[in-house]
């Protein structure tokens, strides 16, 4: 009996070290409404690490990403041609997220290895995909860097190091500020739990960002009944022009 017990213990020891860990996550809201006075929004992401055995000594890494709808775009680079600056190179980006935020519990090089980053496309660099650029321009990676630089200035791409608070290796929470110039669509939030920079568990959730009220109505009309929308724009312009003229004539006596 005791021998059997020791055998079981021996079998369990190697399993016990990397205890099975699972992520359970929640969002403060899974729906963001863009109304006429929309001025950005903050979203709170929180969760817990579920495990069968006690946690390992060192705290785990937690990385949270939020990604907006992906669209293709064109990047251009200017260079000097004679006395003037003109666009010389063009790179087509296959898919670039309209919004991207990465929040981590510690410096990225500590909580994420490059291999894991490549496999799960976690950092902004990995989320952007260039196509057919390598043959056309000298250094396509500079275009990616430029795209990130420009969008970071607008708050559209964010990397928030140590923005995730992890409590007792189990509970964690973080918040992401969504800027006012948000594009409509389904945003995905992904959560990664890492041990020694390797992803051991992940979870994801969707956030619906949509226009409501007047914004919804105008957008729908412009796309579904373009001619009517165009005529409506003209009618408003003519009425406003006539109105201003009438008011001024009245004021003049």
């Amino acid at each position: 009996m005791t021998r059997l017990f020791w055998l079981l213990v021996l079998l369990l020891v190697p399993v016990k070290a990397p205890a099975e860990e699972e992520l359970i996550a929640g969002l403060s809201r899974n729906r963001i409404s863009i109304s006429a006075n929309f001025d950005g929004s903050e979203i709170l992401i929180f969760g817990a690490v579920k495990r069968d055995a006690p946690a390992a000594e060192d705290p785990p890494g937690v990385i949270v990403t939020i990604e907006g709808p992906k669209t293709p775009l064109t990047l251009r680079r200017k260079d000097r041609m004679g006395p003037i600056w003109v666009n010389v190179d063009t790179v087509e980006v296959d898919r670039a997220p309209s919004f991207y935020a990465v929040n981590s519990s510690g410096p990225l090089r500590d909580v994420l290895t490059h291999t894991s980053d490549m496999r799960h496309s976690i950092t902004v660099e990995q989320a952007i995909r260039l196509v057919g650029a390598s043959g056309l321009v000298e250094d396509p990676s500079r275009f990616t860097e430029a795209l990130i630089r420009i969008r970071e200035r607008n708050g559209l791409y964010q990397t928030n190091i140590s923005a995730v608070t992890v409590r007792e290796s189990t509970l964690f929470d973080t918040s992401v500020v969504l800027p006012a110039n948000l594009v409509e669509g389904v945003y995905t939030s992904r959560l990664f739990l890492t041990r020694n920079g390797v992803v051991v568990a992940q979870a994801s959730a969707a956030i619906n960002v949509e226009k409501v009220g007047l914004e919804r109505f105008l957008y729908a009309l412009a796309h579904q009944d373009a001619l009517l929308y165009g005529l409506l724009s003209l009618a408003i312009a003519v009425v406003a022009g006539w109105g201003a003229s009438a008011v001024f004539r009245y004021l003049q006596g």
Partner: protein, 302 residues
């Protein structure tokens, strides 16, 4: 007060847009230019995507031109027959211009061509107007009588027509040609063409400055209304919310502009327009010549 624009998908300050519309409206009422060459770059600067800025400013120009033209009609400074002839020419020219634009786009570097032609045209027109109006102003001050309009080859052409408001009895061929060439340029450069049309009417057709402004506005209404519809139907890039904010400022500004215009002498108006045109030209030239702070730029989906 921030307002989220449904088509542009950006959030902007409402008062800023009202102000922008107002300033451009004043210029429109004063000089008879639509102001597209001013408002479109200003909207880029605020962060509106270029396609939306171009389409929406056309809509706002309809409103401010309409407002200003009503003020000019009351003063009987609109030459309707002349406006119609120019309009017909302009529409033919725009159709030709769109074909040329597409050929150029196929060859690439269309942006550069647009910027260069802007600089060249604005520079030439602005410079010539500036010199001419400065001389006129100087002559008026020293009491010299203004030069009589000379009879030249233009007056020998057939199909003569009476343009009462302008006090002209000339062939319809020159105004038609002016309309066509402005239409071509406008379509290539993506503007209404008021700043080319106004000097062309003054110097090539010899119309009185005050009538030129009203008549130019009259034909701009139709050109920009057509552009607005075209953009709304083909690209869905007219932002009604943005247009509304701009045009509220614009229609009020246009009324003030038309009022200011009556207080100034024709030469003074021309010299101010010349300075404005030269300033825009200088800004564009600097953009081309100075090293940009950011060499890279993001364009929309190709």
């Amino acid at each position: 007060m921030q307002i989220y624009l449904p088509i542009a998908e950006v959030s902007v300050n409402a008062f800023l847009l009202l102000g922008l519309g107002g300033v451009v409206g004043i210029l429109s009422g004063m000089f008879g230019v639509g102001g597209g060459f001013l408002i479109t770059p200003l909207l880029f600067f605020v962060g509106i995507p270029p396609a939306v800025a171009v389409a929406t400013s056309a809509n706002q120009i309809v409103a401010s031109s309409f407002s200003a033209v009503l003020a000019h009609i009351r003063r009987k400074t609109v030459d309707f027959p002349m406006g119609l002839v120019l309009l017909v020419g302009g529409l033919i020219g725009a159709a030709i211009g769109i074909v040329i634009f597409n050929i150029l786009r196929g060859m690439g570097q269309v942006d550069l061509l647009v910027s260069l032609s802007y600089v060249v045209f604005l520079g030439t027109i602005g410079g010539l107007m500036f010199v001419e109006s400065l001389n006129a102003l100087r002559n008026a001050r020293s009491g010299k009588p203004p030069k009589r309009r000379k009879h030249n080859w233009i007056h020998a052409l057939p199909l003569k027509m009476k343009f009462r408001a302008s006090g002209l009895y000339i062939s319809v061929i020159p105004p038609l040609l002016v309309g066509v060439s402005v239409g071509v340029l406008a379509a290539i450069m993506g503007v209404g063409g008021g700043f080319i049309m106004v000097p062309a009417m003054i110097y090539l057709l010899g119309m009185p400055t005050k009538v030129v402004i009203g008549t130019s506005l009259f034909q701009i209404i139709f050109v920009t209304a057509f552009t607005t519809l075209l953009h709304a139907v083909t690209n869905q890039t007219v932002d009604l919310m943005l247009a509304l904010l701009l045009l509220v400022g614009g229609v009020v500004g246009a009324q003030f502009g038309a009022r200011i215009g009556t207080l100034l002498k024709a030469e003074q108006l021309r010299i101010l327009l010349a300075i404005l045109v030269l300033a825009v030209c200088g800004k564009l030239a600097l953009d081309l010549l100075l090293e940009p702070a950011e060499l890279y730029s993001i364009a929309g989906a190709a």
